[in-house]
Amino acid sequence: METILTRYRNLTVLLIVVVAQLVFLAYQVKANKDDRLIRVWAVSAVTPMAGGVDSVRHNTLGFLQDYFILLDVRDQNRRLKAENDKLRMENIYLRNEMANSADAHALMVFQEKTPSKTVAARVVGNSTVATAKAVFIDRGSTSGIEKGMAVVTPEGVVGKVIAVYPLVSQVLLITDPTFKIGVESQKHHVHGILNCGVGHCIVEQVQDEDKLDVGEWFFTSGEDRLFPRGFPVGTVISSQPGAPGQGMRDVKLALSGQPGGAEAVLVVLEGVHQEIPSGPVMADVHVAPLPLPPGQKDGNSSSVEQVQTEADKIVGKYEALGKEENHVYGEVGSSVPNFNPPKTTPAPAAAPVPQSSAPQAAAPVPVTPAAQAPPPAPLPLGSPRRKTTTTATTTEAPAPPGRQP
């Protein structure tokens, strides 16, 4: 026996180590008990470093951004250097603070609005298991966090606390395959169970007879006894009847928040159920983009042709000729156009430019009284373009403010 053990010493050690771990694993699974001490040690050792790295990253990025922004300011205000230095230092500090607390501010506003008692936390790390969607937050039992508490952001739900350590906690995200929450729709009050573990989010247990509109909001229903009722979850992106015989509807949902990408979150210490709002949800409010600068066209505008090359100019010229001579290119029986029409002298500046004889490659003329119209000039490449229609000699008016793209 001893000879065998000596001969196969390496294999024996391997077996012992593997079997020991297997026994420990079996004990944890069977007893549903975790060795908390090992985890506490490991988490306590790693997360402070992760938090430190996160702080350094935030401050470094903020500082670099501020540096580039402030370079110009320093040049412009060289004479006021003393004052500027002071302002710059203040600015750097405040901007760093802003960069760090941009999310925190949103959370603060939300914290004031929501009746639930919450505590703000920052996400400091991920889990080591790629398939398990879990993150570490920088608040632990010392902040009053307990296992099973809900984690949210103003945009939507994030997950639940699954492990609490003195200074950090581990949060299971709602995108984890094992995590499901109860939800209720805003308009038709359809109840269901949200499951985001299948690559996308679906609402299960919705009967075929239930009515749901695309774009309808879902909120937490509070039935899971985890999330208080009334937190936004997401909107319906498709609602179709399920497989025949099952009687369940196939409802797909787009989450309103980004559980995996959240930098700052709120842990609900004491949840208070709220009514599901009947009006538009915060994320529904659409901010219209600014109008385009004068002289620029919307890319969707199909009536405007872009002259890019000399060939475009020639095409434009021939098209104008064709129109002038009532010739349709490619049409059978159409007369051959005269490509060498007699040259027309440029119209005097005071006279209105006849549209039919205006060269198509002329530069766009600002919308001015005809008496002030400048003479046509060659169009440089890449300059603002004109229409090939009869309005070719007028510049497009700027898009109306508040126009949707």
């Binding site: 593997v18 771990q21 996160d54 298991v129 984890d176």
Partner: protein, 186 residues
């Protein structure tokens, strides 16, 4: 005691310090790799495929052809990773067992083949990544009864990416080893 025996003793003492220095450095690097695995996907979300702890386990096994040391190192790395995983989904020992086996087999391979060649290292890293992913998936299904999806295409791509990362990483570690040995001898 003559001069040669004195030299021999002195050298042995230096070698001992050198090996301790290297092991300490490797342990620090391993902890760093585990921290990066936890933290790096927060900064760069597309790096979740990077398995630095696994690569270090493979490197240790390839460079130190001692099966017991390699398997213990693998167990240490795996148990550290297990400790940072969600408790309800991932009991301690899952990564421990897989990385124990990876360390053992890596050391076994290095005892029989010349693993200094870059191509062989590339292939071995790819193989061990596949082995690790498959073992882990099997264990989750068999031991924990968890229905975890297994995407062979994704595993192959990630394996290739990890192998690509392993080559420069191993070269860097080789250089550190050489410079470490020089500084220890000097």
């Amino acid at each position: 005691m003559n001069e040669s025996s004195d030299n021999l003793l002195r050298r042995r003492s230096r070698e001992s310090w050198f090996s301790r220095f290297q092991i300490l450095g490797l342990v620090v690097l391993t902890l760093l790799a585990i921290i990066l695995k936890v933290y790096l996907p927060r900064i760069i979300p597309s790096t979740s495929w990077l398995e630095l702890p696994l690569l270090l386990t493979v490197y240790f096994g390839l460079v130190y052809p001692n099966q017991i040391a390699a398997l213990l190192f693998g167990a240490f790395v795996g148990l550290c990773e297990d400790s940072l995983a969600p408790a309800n989904l991932h009991p301690i020992g899952m990564f421990g067992i897989t990385k124990t086996l990876v360390g053992y087999f890596a050391a076994s391979v290095s005892m029989r083949f010349n693993v200094e060649n870059a191509f062989i290292r590339l292939v071995l890293c790819f193989f061990f990544y596949l082995f690790h992913a498959l073992m882990y998936w099997l264990m989750r299904r068999a031991l924990l009864d968890q229905m975890v999806p297994f995407d062979p295409q994704e595993i192959l791509i990630y394996g290739a990416l990890n192998s690509a990362v392993a080559l420069p990483l191993f070269l860097l570690l080789d250089k550190m080893k050489v410079s470490g040995s020089r500084s220890a001898i000097l």
